[in-house]
Subunit: 235 residues, 2 copies
């Protein structure tokens, strides 16, 4: 996938037959590539803050400069890890800036500027090309504060109920459920990650049978999954 | 499911035909119920610390007392939420103590004392009853520090590679992958949660086709997913 490629057309060509209610989980990397979200390290001139952080954390100062440019707030810099809130409102390592599976050596890949917008455009494109009303999730691999390993989460979504709300509904015994919202979009992203490996170059996974998560309208997108600052206990 | 029930026998009876390489994701609630991990609120006498916290956080002091007894370290008490590290080493709200879908009104359900041990026993029981070498994941719904909504994670596992290690391996272009371990056990738990709803009373989900995650030996279990204290940037 190259900058300028029509990702909806590529997916529509590759998919056998899309149906209403299908969910397509698309890897952030191909979305970013198609949107030209790359930076060459050779073109980056690190500032004083980037050089200082890079030295402390034993990282490439040019990469740190890119990370800082993508960052709204640096939460932690420790153990060689930068935990950032990105301008998109996502909290993740290195502001989502990636150096693996990028378009070339010394090319960094950045997150899409507006991942929910990317998902909406993909959904509309697929609707136009195939007639199917699918849900689209853009997945990326994030770490967790208290657990090892990465799981894929939804950084963008369209036509998906991101948070299934069970609050106030009853359990099977009629007792009111405790505050429960299921992060469906994240679970779809995680499920899709099981169907490929890190070196399989399979950027899109089709999930069939999850119609429960697919909505008529584009909906609020993955933005609905960001924990508001007022409910953040760990910053 | 009642205290003392043989969960392996119940699952073997209910499953059509288990095969080598199948993964069974079992809800924590039925594991805890079968192990008798319940407390009646009426039997609990809250101490001073529980009464104080309950008053501050507008919670039932008897429930808070149970939560404190299950807690090794209280990380946060804010917005009516207690974030605890349990004696099992899990970081979650209310030390995993649950009041929904429990065996009766005013009965709290606690986490299994040793969820990896529970998973190993289930696996051995299923092997004996069916001959199949399956992987077992015990799933529970956890919140996340910076994202809204719950996703199911693995609190126990046996016969599962909990963390697929890609460190030092190459990406599709031959470039060394950045530090990447995939929390496979958590992704299996999340995928299973998509196949049921909070009121569907379906405590076990069979995942077929994830042989990649299933191991010959019981392995390290979900304990391998706990972030060591030295790598914890948010405590």
């Amino acid at each position: 996938v190259q900058a300028g490629d029509d990702l909806a057309a590529l997916i529509a060509d590759a998919a056998d037959e899309l149906r209403d209610g299908d969910v397509l989980v698309v890897a952030q990397k191909v979305v970013s590539k198609s949107e030209g979200r790359t930076r060459r390290l050779a073109d980056v001139h690190p500032g004083a803050r980037a050089r200082e952080l890079a030295s402390e954390q034993a990282k490439d100062a040019r990469l740190v400069q890119i990370v800082l440019e993508e960052t709204a707030e640096l939460l932690r810099a420790d153990h060689g890890v930068l935990i950032c809130e990105t301008h998109q409102g996502l909290v993740c390592a290195n502001a989502g800036v990636d150096m693996s599976n990028t378009p070339g050596p010394d090319v960094a890949l950045l997150l899409p500027e507006d991942p929910d917008g990317s998902a909406r455009r993909l959904r509309a494109g697929l609707r136009e090309l195939t007639g199917a009303r699918v849900g689209v999730v853009i997945g990326d691999s994030f770490g967790r504060a208290w657990r090892l390993g990465l799981t894929d989460v939804a950084i963008g979504a369209a036509g998906i109920d991101p948070l299934e709300d069970w609050r106030g509904r009853a359990d099977a015994r009629g007792r009111e459920l405790q505050a429960t919202e299921v992060a469906l979009a994240d679970e779809l992203a995680a499920a899709a990650d099981l169907a490929r490996t890190k070196d399989s170059q399979e950027p899109v996974v089709l999930i069939r049978g999850a119609e429960r998560a697919v909505t008529e309208l584009d909906g609020p997108g993955a933005a609905a999954l960001r924990r508001p600052r007022a409910l953040d206990l760990f910053r």
